[in-house]
């Protein structure tokens, strides 16, 4: 006689081995036999939750409505260094846009793509609805390297509707007696996570959490954190803050610090978030996630120097931290030390990060560190690892840069055109192509390309400046002045723009 394993034990084993579908199937069978088996029911909810679970602390992208219809900001013009919304409030000698490219919101691009670094906060509604909103279309140029490691589980909100069981939902929320479940601590937690993550029904989750915390006589920190999460999802940041604070009074947990800091960032209080992280570090010295949080805030506030310091602290604790390595690497690259950046990127390679962006960065670092023999082979590898048209465009664009560097303008021309063929919105390629066209003497084409680049990326100063120079050369001083002013808006410290403006003003004043 064959000895069969206890099906619940088997399901539990599957669950631990993360074979979630099998686990859920077995639990379904057990529940068919005995619909009141609480253990199987609980395990199934957990399995289903795990399938769609994402780390709430990490994934956070502000929607357009939150960005544009923001009610929580009080002072419209924040003092420098106190807000995440004001670009260009740089305090600590970061590189200028002439050296390090900026994102649409006027911040230097980071070495690591996170949801919040993609597009920043657009200034106008027009810009907001024009901004590409998918993760793959916002252009982080090429220093993206760790995106796939951390954002492996993408689909955020829509996933719930796609992955439910074909034959009716597992739990029918509307018929659930929440009050009953909230009395049973063993079931209520898994049920809450199921409702919150799998069903994505924040309202019911909030109801359950409220009743459960009442049942626990407001003494259970876990339920308070869950309440805070629900409030955060609903956009009630002040309530969320209260719950997290109260949870921290019961029990200091790293997660709670991170959630609370997230609330403060959403409320645009980076200084408070920083001090909160520092408090957290007192409790948990050397905690990597807290250090990373500090570094990210510094980075978003344009304080690259101290951001790098904190990333270095992160690496002291965890020397395989991809984000820290990538950020320090790109910082070295843009502060004129490509040979050190090369070391960092090689470290990433050793750790097993193997993607197009990394080879792209390696290629550029090799080129600028004068290790020519490895430059082009890196790009070839990058080309072989391409997974989307945007990446292909970025690789061609970077090869174009190298071609400009070695003076092969014909190759550069082809590369930039190819970059545009793969990504029609590549403003940098348009700009560079325009410069090449101008060298060939094709003024009309050059002008058209520059105008396109300027309309695609109004945050870049280069197209405006080039356009201004072009207009000045063909004698259209009025347009030249307008373009120079736009360039000045994008990059106020640009000396060449200032000189051009001065020259134009003199032109206008002279009789």
């Amino acid at each position: 006689m064959e000895v069969t394993m206890d099906p619940l034990f088997l399901a539990w084993s599957y669950f631990r081995r993360r074979k979630l579908q099998q686990c859920s199937d077995i639990c379904t069978k057990i529940l068919q036999d005995n619909p009141y088996d609480q253990a199987a029911w609980s395990l199934k909810t957990r399995a289903l939750t795990e399938m769609v679970y994402i780390d709430e602390v990490e994934v956070d992208q502000e929607g357009i409505a939150e960005m544009m219809l923001d009610e929580s900001s009080i002072a419209q013009v924040a003092r420098p260094g106190t807000s995440l919304r004001l670009p260009g409030t740089s305090q600590g000698g970061g590189p200028t846009p002439a050296v390090r490219p900026v994102t649409q919101s006027g911040r230097p691009i980071t070495g690591f793509v996170r949801p919040s670094t993609q597009s920043g906060r657009p200034g106008t509604m027009e810009q907001a609805i024009k901004t590409p909103r998918t993760a793959s279309t916002a252009r982080p140029v090429t220093s993206a390297s760790g995106r796939f490691i951390r954002l492996g589980t993408v689909s955020v909100h829509e996933s719930a509707s796609m992955l439910t069981n074909p034959d009716g939902p597992f739990i029918n929320l509307s018929r659930l007696n929440l009050a009953k479940y909230s009395q049973k601590p063993s079931l209520s937690r898994t049920l809450f996570e199921f409702i919150f993550h799998h069903e994505n029904d924040v309202k019911n989750a909030l109801d359950l959490a409220a009743q459960a915390t009442e049942h626990a006589q407001f003494k259970d920190w876990w339920w308070k954190v869950q309440l805070g999460k629900c409030y955060y999802r609903l956009g009630l940041y002040r309530e969320a803050e209260k719950q997290f604070r109260s949870a921290l009074n019961h029990q200091a947990v790293v997660d709670t610090y991170l959630y609370l800091a997230k609330v403060y960032q959403r409320l645009d209080q980076p200084i408070t978030a920083l001090s909160l992280f520092k408090q957290g570090l007192d409790q948990f010295p050397g905690e990597v996630t807290l250090l990373t949080g500090i570094a990210r805030i510094h980075e978003e506030m344009n304080n690259i120097a101290s951001a790098t310091e904190y990333y270095k602290d992160v690496l002291k604790q965890d020397n395989t931290h991809v984000e820290a390595i990538a950020c320090i690497g790109s910082n070295h690259f843009y502060t004129d030390q490509p040979e050190i950046a090369l070391r960092f990127y090689r470290r990433l390679l050793q750790m097993g990060v193997y993607n197009c962006q990394l080879y792209n960065n390696l290629g550029l670092c090799c080129f600028y560190a004068q290790q020519y023999d490895m430059t082009l082979s890196s790009f070839e590898r990058a080309m072989a690892l391409v997974s989307s048209d945007e990446e292909q465009a970025d690789v061609w664009y970077n090869i174009g840069q190298v071609a400009v560097g070695i003076g092969d303008l014909a190759l550069a021309y082809q590369c930039f055109k190819l970059a545009l063929a793969f990504n029609n919105d590549h403003a940098e390629a348009y700009n560079n192509l325009a410069v090449l066209e101008l060298r060939k003497g094709r003024i009309e084409q050059s002008k058209a390309f520059l105008q396109t680049a300027a309309s695609l990326a109004p945050h870049m100063y280069e197209p405006h400046f080039n356009l201004s120079i072009l207009y000045e050369k063909i004698g259209d001083l009025q347009n030249s002045y307008t373009a120079a002013q736009k360039s000045e808006d994008a990059f106020p410290e640009h000396v060449d723009t200032q000189q051009l403006l001065k020259q134009l003003r003199q032109h206008f004043a002279v009789l």
Binding site: T137, E339, Y372, D389, N424, L511
Partner: protein, 579 residues
């Protein structure tokens, strides 16, 4: 009080940010209007929020406020007779007339003589009056007169020419009976002592007009004593001397030249050609200091010799002279657009006053019983009064500067790392091998790039076409949150002069995901250099939160190969269609 150098020399007497005074330096004067020894501030307010007013301030209060008929061009206080008590009259120049106020009551109005009228124009209007010609002919004839004649048309004819065809009839009926007059307008006004240099001596009015003439009026009879003509319309004027003895009128004209007129001739004696248009004109002693539009302050002698020139930090808004005869101190006050007032003696900057707003008029003199008072009005209508401290001393600062401060700032050049040195060693050792490897890779890459390029060209993958007959460029913009998106395709013909026609746009998309309002569109004729936006609407029919690429082709009629292709990455539709 600000801590800035020079700020300590002034006392803040009064600042009213909402005094509602919109005026310029030419419409401001200080005079003892009631004969009690206290000077008042007379301002010709050009209006803005309210109407045009003649305002008188005493102390910190507005004493009187009377309406003006027309926009004031200039204002001057002068003694017109020898009666006691010695109360000056106020002359306000507006339009073609000078309105003289005594005791702040209208006293006399002097209107400039009309100018010569074009004989042909007069004839034409005569014929209209007699009904010989109709309006169309009138219009044509006036047009031809305007083009040919050396005497310009009257205001009425110019107005007629600017009217629509429908309104001409009524206009002619209304005005044809009146004779034609051609009236010039006053651009600037100043005073000139008649025969004595005393402070309270009788003065003549000097008037500059749009017709490039300068008139000197007798103060009692208001008859023209002298008429001089200039090459261009005057904009600013400065007068010194006495009419009966010898005088000099320095006039800045709109052509950017400064002319100096003297008693004995009716033509300018000297001419100073400036490098940029003058903004302010002040005489200091025997020299003329001019603030120019190119942010410079220049000084000239009476004979037009350039003495010095200073570059200012911002554009000049207004200028005035600061004259303290008791201390023998003469300097120039320059109001700048960066909210500062600079005080210059010769080319040396003596002090800087910071103001809360850019100032539009400035005036220094006796106000109330205080001799050294500085009165400024700001662009937003504020009034600032500052008093010079009795102890204030102005010292010429050394004009010669040391090396510029930027010279001592160290550049943030990163240190050469050990790694770098190691790499250079490697480069030195195996340079040849590296070069060979690079060259080989480069050739391979060139080949790969060319292959990809040819492929892109053959299938017209690029968003621009470089063919000689149809050089086009297109970029696409997607707007909207979903499920409806607006798709704007900006098509541009980049040829130098040749238009492109017979083009069409079509789309390639996943029909299970998107629905397009019009998937085929004709493009109009494309004029070179202009951007043609072509718009259409796309509806996302899926609620799965997925997005796709839409391909756009620009086609030439009768040819199957597209001229260019654009790929549009559609955003994820965030809106959910209501059921």
């Amino acid at each position: 009080m600000e801590a800035c150098p020079g700020g300590g020399q002034w006392l803040d007497a009064h600042y009213d940010p909402v005094a509602c005074v919109n005026t310029f330096s030419s419409c401001v004067a200080l005079a003892d209007l009631s004969g009690d020894g206290e000077n008042r501030l007379v301002v010709g307010d050009v209006g803005g929020s309210g109407g045009m007013k003649l305002k008188v301030f005493g102390g910190t209060a507005l004493l009187s406020d009377s309406s003006l008929l027309d926009l004031p061009a200039g204002l001057a206080a002068f003694f017109m007779d020898l009666h006691e008590p010695r109360i000056p009259a106020v002359a306000v120049a507006s339009g073609p007339s000078v309105y003289v106020y005594k005791n702040l009551r209208p006293y006399f109005k002097f209107t400039l003589p009309g100018s010569e009228v074009n004989v042909l124009e007069q004839d034409v209007w005569q014929q209209v009056r007699e009904g010989h010609i109709d309006h169309v002919t009138l219009k044509e004839m006036l047009e031809s007169i305007r083009k040919q004649a050396d005497v310009p048309l009257s205001v009425r004819s110019l107005h007629f020419l600017s009217l629509d065809a429908a309104a001409t009839d009524e206009f002619v009926q209304l005005h044809k009976q009146q004779p034609i007059r051609r009236q010039t307008v006053i651009t600037c006004i100043a005073t000139l002592k008649k025969s004595t240099a005393d402070e309270d001596g009788v003065s003549c009015l000097v008037i500059g007009t749009e017709s490039s003439d300068v008139y000197i009026l007798d103060p009692e009879a208001f008859i023209i004593l002298s008429k001089m003509s200039l090459p261009d319309a005057p904009s600013m004027m400065d007068v010194t001397g006495q009419f009966d003895v010898e005088f000099r009128i320095t006039v800045a004209c709109r052509n950017g030249n400064i002319y100096i007129l003297r008693r004995d001739s009716d033509k300018p004696k000297y001419c100073i050609e400036l490098s940029a248009h003058p903004v302010g004109l002040v005489r200091v002693g025997k020299n003329v200091v001019v603030g120019c539009m190119d942010e410079s302050l220049q000084a000239f002698t009476q004979k037009g010799k350039k003495l010095w020139s200073v570059v200012l930090p911002a554009p000049v808004t207004t200028m005035a002279s600061m004259d303290l005869p008791t201390r023998g101190f003469q300097a120039v006050l320059v109001g700048l657009a960066n909210c500062e007032v600079h005080l210059y003696r010769d080319k040396n900057l003596l002090s800087t006053i910071k103001t809360p707003d850019a100032i539009s008029s400035i005036c220094f003199g006796r106000y109330g019983r205080e001799d050294g008072t500085l009165i400024m009005t700001t662009k937003s209508g504020g009034l600032i009064v500052k008093i010079l401290k009795r102890t204030a001393a102005f010292e010429d600062r050394d004009g010669a500067h040391g090396p510029p401060p930027a010279q001592s700032i160290r550049l943030n050049v990163p240190k050469k790392t050990k790694l770098y040195v190691d790499q250079t060693l490697r480069e030195r050792d195996c340079g040849a091998a590296m070069h060979r490897a690079f060259q080989m890779d480069l050739s391979r890459l060139r080949l790969a790039a060319t292959k990809a390029y040819v492929k892109a060209l053959e299938s017209s993958l690029t968003p621009m076409s470089s063919s000689l007959t149809e050089p086009l460029k297109m970029n696409a913009v997607v707007q909207g949150l979903g499920p409806s998106f607006k798709l704007t395709l900006n098509v541009q013909n980049t040829a130098a002069c040749r238009p492109v026609m017979n083009l069409a746009i079509s789309f390639l998309y996943d029909e299970s995901l998107y629905r397009m309002r019009n998937p085929y569109m004709r493009i109009p004729l494309l004029v070179p250099g202009l951007v043609y936006p072509v718009e259409t609407f796309v509806e996302c029919t899926s609620d799965k939160g997925i997005s796709d690429i839409i391909k756009v082709f620009v086609l030439h009629e009768g040819r199957s190969v597209p001229l260019l292709t654009a790929h549009i990455n559609m955003p994820v539709s965030e809106g959910v269609t209501l059921n």
